[in-house]
């Protein structure tokens, strides 16, 4: 969903434009620790998952995006603005939800969100209205005059989200938004984020160390490890490319493979499982496979439409690098 309000931001004119653009971003701390190494990525409108283990450089990246840290080298643009020089303008238009607890106990949700709305640059009356709106959107309309100290963990997470949402940001940076939530709370938080990203039309970056959790709400995924980009892809293209047909036969695997390849299909044999994976390029594939098996008179035991879990795609890369890490 494109939103007209984005149009006035310099450089962000349409859906295709990148919300975040990092080029050869490197961050070395004075102690010699390299938090980010030569990171290049682009984040488009929609919901983007930023995945990486703890210490992968997610927080450093977020601080650089907010213009709070100056990268050692490389360029980074957020909402079309240079994060090195225009941090203030970026921070006025980006909502940030920190990972840890950051709420005072002795003020009401309305007071708190209103104050932070003012700190985002909203005039007094607008801040009150926008705070009420934000709390309504996160489902705390009824409880807005209660002190935050009386809230459950799930409600507190919603207040944290509301303070990031106040004032209609162009981009939301959410750091581990499901932290400390029970499965039900997690689901409702995720569906809330999904709604913000799709129906509100706000670009969202969700940082998480749990890929399985955020994959179902994300349009794009970016995986970083040790400050480096492991993989970035649109989830659409991944899931489009994903479907495979698993063909399991008791015998004649090689023969079947040869015949299917002859007929122009992409086949990946998995001898250990006595399976062939045939890429589903279109509906005729089913017919071709059926006919081929019938022609060869092979004993077919299983025909399964397989959908890769996104995690599997990342698993190789992740395990590789953690193996490297273990060696160090």
């Amino acid at each position: 969903m494109t939103r007209a309000t984005l149009a006035y931001l310099p450089g962000v004119s349409d859906n295709e434009q990148s919300i975040i653009e990092a080029t050869a971003l490197t961050m070395r701390y004075p102690g010699g620790v390299t938090a980010l190494g030569d990171l290049t990525l682009a984040v488009r409108p929609g919901i983007t998952g930023l995945v990486g283990a703890n210490g992968a450089g997610k927080s450093t990246l977020i601080k650089i995006l907010l213009g709070l840290l100056t990268p050692t080298s490389g360029a980074v643009r957020v909402l079309g603005l240079d994060a090195r020089r225009q941090g203030e303008l970026i921070r006025a238009r980006v909502g940030y939800m920190p990972e840890h607890d950051c709420l005072p106990a002795d003020v009401t949700a309305t007071e708190f969100v209103t104050h932070l709305g003012r700190m985002s640059g909203l005039p007094s009356t607008a801040a009150k209205e926008q705070a009420a709106e934000a709390l309504r959107h996160v489902g705390l309309h009824e409880e807005r005059y209660r002190q935050i100290g009386t809230f459950s963990t799930g409600m507190k997470q919603r207040v944290k989200l509301a303070q990031a949402l106040v004032g209609d940001p162009g981009l939301l940076l959410l750091d581990e938004p499901t932290n400390g939530l029970d499965p039900a709370g997690r689901d409702s938080m995720l569906s809330l984020i999904h709604r913000i990203g799709t129906e509100f039309g706000i670009a969202v970056v969700v940082a998480s160390h749990l890929l399985s959790e955020i994959e179902r709400i994300c349009d794009h995924l970016v995986a970083i490890e040790g400050g480096r980009l492991l993989r970035a892809a649109s989830l659409d293209s991944m899931t489009q490319a994903l479907p495979w047909l698993a063909v399991e036969v008791d015998e004649g695997l090689d023969l079947l493979e040869a015949r299917l390849t002859e007929r122009g299909l992409t086949v990946s044999p998995q001898p250990t499982r006595r399976q062939l994976l045939v890429r589903l390029d279109g509906d005729p594939v089913f017919d071709t496979v059926r006919d081929t098996v019938a022609d060869l008179e092979l004993p077919l035991t299983r025909l399964e439409h397989r959908r890769h879990h996104v995690e599997e795609l990342f698993a190789d890369a992740l395990s590789e690098s953690s193996a490297q890490e273990a060696l160090l």
């Binding site: 939103r3 921070r91 002795d106 959107h137």
Partner: protein, 369 residues
Amino acid sequence: MSSTAPASVIHDIGYKPYNGPRLGRAQIVRALYVHSMRSVFGLGRGPKAKIVPWFVIAIMMVPAALNVYAASTNREPVLSYAAMGYDLMLFAVLFVAIAAPELVSRDLRHHTLPLYFSRPLRRGDYPLAKLLALFTSLLVVELLPVLVTFVGQVASAKSGHQIWLDTRDAFPAVFVAFFQSALFSSVSLLMASATGRRVIATGAIAIFFLVTTAIGHVFSDALGRTWAEHTVSCTEPIVGKNSGAQNLFGFGGGQNGPPTGVVDRLCAGVDPRNDDIEQINGQPDPNRPGYADLTIQYQSPVYSTVAKVGGMLNPVNIVEGTRIWLFDATDGQIPNPSPLGPVYGAETIVLLAAASGGLFLRYRKVSVS
């Protein structure tokens, strides 16, 4: 979760993008300043947050109200301008000991700072707004008794010249209020910004100010004092507001001695409360009708160097010593620092710069996430 169902119902109202005005950084700092000032006085907070600030304001008003009453009945003020800042110091300490932790320790305790710094504010803006807020709040509280007394004096003044004299007297009180507020707010905020625990911050601030005051007090009489003889002559208009001309020359024989206000006004800078007045002679000036020639003989104490140095440990004494030095005052509440006056003045500036500088440094280093 039960909240999912109502949320989806509420959502039907739809999301409206905000297209209204967005304020710049300067206005955000101003908003934080106003918000901080309100929280110092407990405005917009529960009743508990209002107890201490409004108690202090009430206490500050007591001598001011008595001064107004005294002025209206032609009596000497209960608390002179010059003594206000020093004598009411305890309440200023109480005020900042509660206000400074309220301003900065809360945000540290609840880790709220990342929410500020992920917004347009820069690192220095936060301490700047907090410092200005506490400074202005304390200045208002300290100027209140000065202002009320002044209004009372002006209301019962009998001549324009008397208003001018009163204004001249009030100026040192404004000076003390200004520098006391600046030093108190910067020092107490620096101390409060070291901890997220309000109780500890409050205790540390109170202990710092009270203990150094006590030390200054102990030192003020160290090694005793000697007396120096002085004689002052002057020609001043006969305007005793609380006396009229007949009382002007009646003093010396009364059971309470010379009315201090009269002497203050006639020979500025001589305060018989601190200085032993031995004799006052006066008669109408033959050449200037309405004026009197006065000769006042008095003694003033001379303190040891230890006593003068001892005052430098405490912010209250530093400001008072600076006042004595700058205004050449004899009505000081601490030993006259002369010839160390410039040292007191320099220390005021250095301490102010160090405390505020430390506060800004503190927030340069604070973590963002």
